[in-house]
């Protein structure tokens, strides 16, 4: 086949595909035969007759590009299913309104594990199909009927060694001890892990944390509040507070702590001891437009170690699939919040407690902050 002729064939195929004369599978197969699969991917044809592109919703920013490079590009390549990433932010309310409109346009969402549980109970999400998704790829406790951990992240304690030298804080009790460790603090505005930190500081043993004693935790937070400069709500904000030396200690994301340590050339220090590990889960909307099977296949694809490693390299988020550890260097494992070594040092946030109590407790928590 001459090159000219091949190109002509491809053009005819694309034309036919655009007019809906052939379906996606035929098109992909034919393009494969013509060794033009990459071109097929780029041709941007929407398959009205044979499924819509899968819409994956995350929190935007750097994650847009990172998801594309880790998961969606490779998924499209191997299945021919197109994926579009929407960075609108899948808050619980936004997902509910998708369903309430009667015409959801989202398929797969990246949400907190407990949100997936809450929304699943309200039938806003569909049960995951564990015949397509291999549930055993993630650790027990990191999957439930409506959500499976896509990656892990952690709330750690970071401190400024310019203030404390090598004698830095080692426990949440130290974090609360403003006499021994003077300076301002920063805590997370959306509460994850903060009540746990307060209770640990108040002497509750780690294994007896749940169910959380909310009034006790809030009293402890009130105690620290005069010394809290800011309750951060974005990663960038927490980073700014630490790097500018506005606070001497903060409870922040491990990914940010790692960047801070690098940017400050070791001035900001941190560790995984007593940190709070949380899972971000994949979930699928009920009646999702692009089809249930396509969504499940995507989630299964996103749990594979290669993509998980890629995401770790791009964003620093911990892989939920333990098999990824084997692909990592020792140095990477040391930084990874999900590695066996680090996992043991941390406390895993209790998904069920959060699913039952997050909404009501968050309101109380925020009331305490703005008093």
């Amino acid at each position: 086949m001459s090159q000219e002729h091949q190109r002509d064939c491809i053009e005819v195929l694309i034309e036919k595909a655009r007019n809906g004369q052939i379906n996606r599978r035929t098109f992909i197969q034919a393009m494969g035969l013509l060794a033009a699969a990459p071109l097929a991917m780029r041709s941007g044809i929407s398959w009205a007759a044979d499924g819509k592109p899968l819409v994956v919703v995350n929190w935007g920013g750097d994650a847009l590009d990172a998801f594309r490079r880790s998961w969606t590009d490779s998924f499209s390549k191997s299945t021919g299913i197109q994926v579009r990433i929407d960075g609108a932010g899948p808050t619980e309310g936004a997902i509910r309104s998708q369903l309430a409109s009667g015409k959801p346009s989202w398929d797969v969402v990246d949400v907190d594990s407990y949100s997936a549980m809450t929304l699943g109970r309200d039938k806003i999400l569909q049960p995951l199909d564990y015949s397509v998704i291999q549930r055993g790829q993630v650790a027990p406790g990191q999957s439930h009927d409506h959500g499976i951990a896509g990656y892990l992240f952690s709330y750690v304690m970071a401190w400024d060694s310019e203030q404390f030298g090598d004698q830095g804080p080692t426990s949440w009790a130290d974090f609360w001890n403003v006499e021994k460790f003077p300076g301002k603090r920063t805590l997370y505005k959306w509460m994850n892990g903060m009540l746990e930190a307060a209770l640990l500081a108040d002497g509750v043993p780690a294994e007896q944390l749940y169910p959380l004693d909310v009034p006790r935790a809030l009293r402890k937070i009130d105690e620290l509040k005069p010394h809290v400069l800011s309750f951060w709500s974005s990663g960038a904000e927490s980073q700014q507070l630490m790097i500018e030396g506005e606070v001497s200690m903060g409870a922040i994301w491990s990914t940010r702590a790692k960047l801070l340590a690098e940017d400050s050339e070791g001035r900001i220090r941190w560790g995984y001891d007593n940190a709070f590990l949380n899972a971000s889960s994949w979930a699928v909307l009920s009646d999702n437009p692009a089809g249930s099977q396509e969504a499940m296949r995507f989630i299964q694809h996103a749990l594979q170690p290669e993509g998980q490693l890629k995401l770790f390299e791009l964003l620093g988020n911990g892989p939920s699939n333990g098999a990824t550890q084997k692909l990592m260097t020792a140095e990477q494992r040391e930084a990874d919040c999900a590695s066996e070594e680090n996992f043991k040092k941390q406390i895993f946030l209790n998904t069920e407690w959060y699913a039952d109590n997050y909404a009501t407790t968050l309101e109380q928590y925020l009331t305490h902050l703005s008093k």
């Binding site: 309310g93 951060w232 700014q240 500018e244 968050l362 009331t367």
Partner: protein, 278 residues
């Protein structure tokens, strides 16, 4: 007869398109939201009772009112000053005012907030300057509290306050001002007794716009308030998107609507500017 009739028809043709558009695209779907406030999570007026009795909500409403009033008043003062300068100064000053209005507009609110955080922090430019001059002993806490929120919002609102003031002042009969000065009135007296009363419609329009805009504002308070200055817009966001209490969010916006309507009505009454509404 027939001519009046057709003239009325022509007038209606001018009048009707906008209300019709808003009726279909906004009012009807909004009635659904009003419905939620009585039906979610259970039918009844439980959400309104909560708004009437919950001290945390009262705190939040009071903070909202306090901050929005402060910002609107300051924005009006600065806007008035700049509008006055624009109308009554030589071209050079006019261009300067224009630059001051258009340049901030291109700077994203996010970058502006970052700028204020950098400039106002305890070891920042402003505190450094004030301490260098010996005006203060220890740095002032200017951000991550209500002060920071006011500064950030004020900066955003000034251009919006300026527009109605500008058109109001431009249309003023300048001869009246000259006459006042000519009759021996001082600058201040001319301002209080002649200029200000004549621009009341502009002030009123600017105030309503800026105040209402402030009520709906929520990113600047989030970024500059240190997470501790939750106002109504963020509170409603919280109810709708974080805690999924749609009934309360809906009820709050109905209450807000009632408050805003009452405020506008009251202002029109006090200032007797019925001219503004036909």
């Amino acid at each position: 007869m027939s001519t009046t009739h057709s003239a009325n028809l022509e007038r209606s043709l001018l009048l009707i398109p906008l209300p019709l558009l808003l009726l279909v695209f906004y009012l009807l779907p909004f009635l659904g939201v009003v419905g939620w406030s009585f039906t979610l999570p259970e039918p009844g007026i439980e959400q309104y009772q909560r708004i009437a009795t919950d001290p945390a909500i009262h705190d939040m409403l009071w903070r909202t009112l306090r901050l929005c009033l402060t910002v609107s008043t300051l924005a009006l003062v600065i806007g008035y000053l700049l509008a006055y300068c624009w109308v009554f100064s030589p071209p050079f000053w006019q261009r300067m005012v224009e630059i001051c209005i258009f340049i901030p507009f291109w700077i994203s609110v996010l970058v502006r907030a970052f700028g204020w955080l950098i400039a106002l922090r305890s070891n920042g430019v402003l505190n450094g300057g004030l301490m260098g001059l010996g005006l203060i002993d220890s740095p002032l806490q200017l951000t991550r509290n209500e002060t920071g929120v006011v500064i950030g919002m004020l900066h955003f609102m000034v251009p919006y306050a300026l527009f109605p003031l500008l058109s109001s002042m431009r249309q003023l009969d300048q001869r009246v001002l000259l006459a006042s000065r000519g009759l021996g009135a001082g600058a201040l007296r001319t301002f209080w007794q002649v200029l200000l009363p004549q621009t009341v419609p502009g002030l009123l329009g600017a105030f309503i716009m800026v105040f209402v805009f402030c009520l709906g504002f929520f990113i600047t308070p989030v970024l500059l308030g240190g997470g501790q200055t939750v106002m109504i817009a963020e509170y409603v966001f919280l109810q709708m998107f974080q805690t999924s209490n749609w009934g309360l969010g809906a009820a709050l916006s109905v209450v807000l609507l009632a408050l805003v309507s009452a405020l506008i009505w009251l202002l029109l009454r006090i200032t007797r500017v019925n001219r503004l509404v036909g």
